[in-house]
Amino acid sequence: MSHLLEVNDLEVKFGLRQGDLTAINGISFNLDKGERMGLVGESGAGKSVTGFAVINLISKPGFISGGRVMFNGIDLASLSEEAMREIRGNQLSMIFQDPMMTLNPVLTIGTQMVETLLAHRSITRAKAAAIALEKLKKVQIPSPEKRLAQYPHEFSGGMRQRIVIAIALITDPEIIIADEPTTALDVTIQAEIMDLLQQLCESEDTGLILITHDLGVVSQVTEKIAVMYAGKIVESGLTERVVNDPKHPYTQGLIKALPGSLQPGARLNQIPGMMPTLTDIPPGCAFNPRCPLCEAICRNQEPPFIPVDHMTRMVACHMVTPDPSNGTK
């Protein structure tokens, strides 16, 4: 069975003077129509690079050095820039963290919305403007007719992110990749934007790849989750299962480090050390120097990404047995 999006063994390298630096390595996941997936990890884990690689937007000195991104049966990595532009922003849209950087400050939001549409559809300006208005209504912007003629600085941060979402939705994409869409926003605004995004994805049957460091947000919005560490996916599966019963020691550590799960005032469960830089990834399992379960094999051999838990998830850890009845040793 083929999926809407199939990422297979994706590898991205950055060509540096000292040699090629592997940013992500062996990334595999898939997404079906209307499915929502969270891509979580700490800064530098390769979440954003993965998102950019999917829409073939890795800029020099970076390049996709291996693997495939199959979208509707087409390998995106093999497409010419021109052919890719037909898909990017049309069937595959992206939402970035900072709406002030995404929007052009010298164009009205109406112009920006219409231009996006005209770049992908051969319709009249008037028709495009009508669609823009309709999308602004969908993202619940008050008095949209008036707002279309305004510039980005006239909107608040939350409103700007709504506009960015409206622009991402304007071509009725099949998948939206949202890279930390609410990180720059306050918690009450974040809740509204996440609600809106989830509700729109549900009503339009749009797939969503949500890139974030916030496990709380992911567990509310997504069905699937992939946890990244040092350029690799270390655990993936159904969000509910992974969050409630993490198998990989890193996922376990990450969830246990959150203050919410403990008695107030208790010592937090910290993961010792920090994530290695990409130039300095230890041999074997990249997590081994910080792992409480580390054994000799972890220092020598890279763990395979294997199915566990009745085939419902994948984990890359020597200490997790593939046998579904055992779990962590």
Binding site: E42, T188, M194, L258, P259, Q270, M275
Partner: protein
């Protein structure tokens, strides 16, 4: 009002730090030409002020972790800086161990500066990139104890570095050689160098990843236990607040809306804004958010709404809320709430 003034006085007697009706406004009207307005055929001057902190009063008890929460622009950082005397307040009183510090000269403030230290949010910006760790850590000690010997300073640097978990053999390195978490440890070390009693931490873990955040919070809690520190913790991360705080103050648009013990606040928030804020926290494993939706957006602090600053977004607002500023009143569980609806028993 009588009841709550008396409880505040009560607390004031054994409080470490006391704020009384503190107001901080910033004049942003600019030069003369920017201030001129032409109205009804007349030329007039107009001043524009950002009303960042308005009539905030509270007392911080020794040894407690007092958190101030609120969304961006609510004045929590301004409040932190005003408390330490970085910004002079426009009116109101700040007392440290009963002594007024808001009207002191820089020279008179010196002994207090030693006792009150600050940790900033961004360890990339708050450490001087051209100073080694040793230089950064030595400076406050030598400044406050000019007679101290070089060897004593060196020992002190090594001791504090060990305590915050930075290897003393890295003392000759520059900030860019450290990761974000390590840098925040160095900022904490700098604050601890002069043996302070009171530390204001402005978003100390917001720039850090979850696994590093836990390390830094543990470090702050350990330092508190070892040295009996008092913290004023400014943050927007409510799960961190719930974990570390003794008491929590919730701010909205420069005003204190609720102040109570962390347990009470998170279990039974009374102010409608606190309720909305707490309901918006994304919780692990909770599927449907079901948060309280607020009407509209935060108004600008240049043009504060009349009456209760929250009335425009509050579902419980009535005509009284539009006209009359609610006073902070004590309710059950020693909580203080500034809300007409709570006072009238409507909420």
């Amino acid at each position: 009002m009588t009841t709550d003034t008396s409880t505040q006085m009560e607390n004031g007697r054994n409080g470490l730090l006391e704020l009384k009706q503190v107001v901080k406004h910033f004049d942003i009207s600019g030069g003369l030409l920017d201030r001129l307005r032409f109205e009804n055929g007349k030329l007039s001057q107009q001043r524009t002020t950002v009303k960042a902190v308005n009539n905030v009063s509270f007392t911080i008890a020794p040894g407690e972790t007092f958190s101030v929460v609120g969304e961006s622009g609510c004045g929590k950082s301004t409040l932190a800086r005003t408390t330490l005397g970085i910004y002079p307040p426009n009116s109101g009183e700040i007392r440290y161990r009963g002594e007024r510090i808001d009207n002191k000269s820089a020279q008179q403030m010196l002994p207090f500066r030693r006792k009150m230290q600050m940790i900033f949010q961004d360890p990339y910006a708050s450490l001087n990139p051209r100073k080694t760790v040793t230089q950064t850590l030595e400076e406050p000690v030598v400044f406050h104890n000019p007679s101290i010997s070089a060897n004593q300073v060196k020992d002190r640097v090594a001791e504090v570095m060990l305590q915050v978990g930075v290897d003393p053999k890295w003392a000759a390195r520059y900030p860019h050689e450290f990761s974000g978490g390590q840098r925040q440890r160095i900022s904490i070390a700098r604050a601890l160098m002069v043996d302070p009693e009171f530390i204001v931490a402005d978003e100390p873990v917001s720039a850090l990843d979850v696994s590093i955040q836990a390390q830094i919070l543990n470090l702050l809690m350990d330092a508190q236990a070892q040295r009996g520190l008092t913290y004023m913790f400014i943050t927007h991360d409510l799960s961190v607040v719930e974990h570390i705080s003794t008491r929590v103050a919730v701010m909205y648009l420069g005003t204190l809306c609720e102040l109570s013990s962390a347990g009470t606040l998170f279990k039974s928030p009374r102010h409608p804004y606190t309720q909305a804020l707490l309901s918006a926290i994304p919780k692990l494993g909770r599927k449907k958010s079901g948060h309280i939706r607020l009407k509209g957006e935060v108004p600008t602090p240049i043009d504060l709404p009349s009456g209760c600053v929250f009335h425009g977004r509050c579902i419980h607002a009535n005509p009284r809320c539009i006209e009359e500023v609610p006073e902070a009143r004590s309710v059950e569980n020693e909580a203080i709430v500034a809300c007409h609806a709570v006072e009238e028993g409507r909420l």
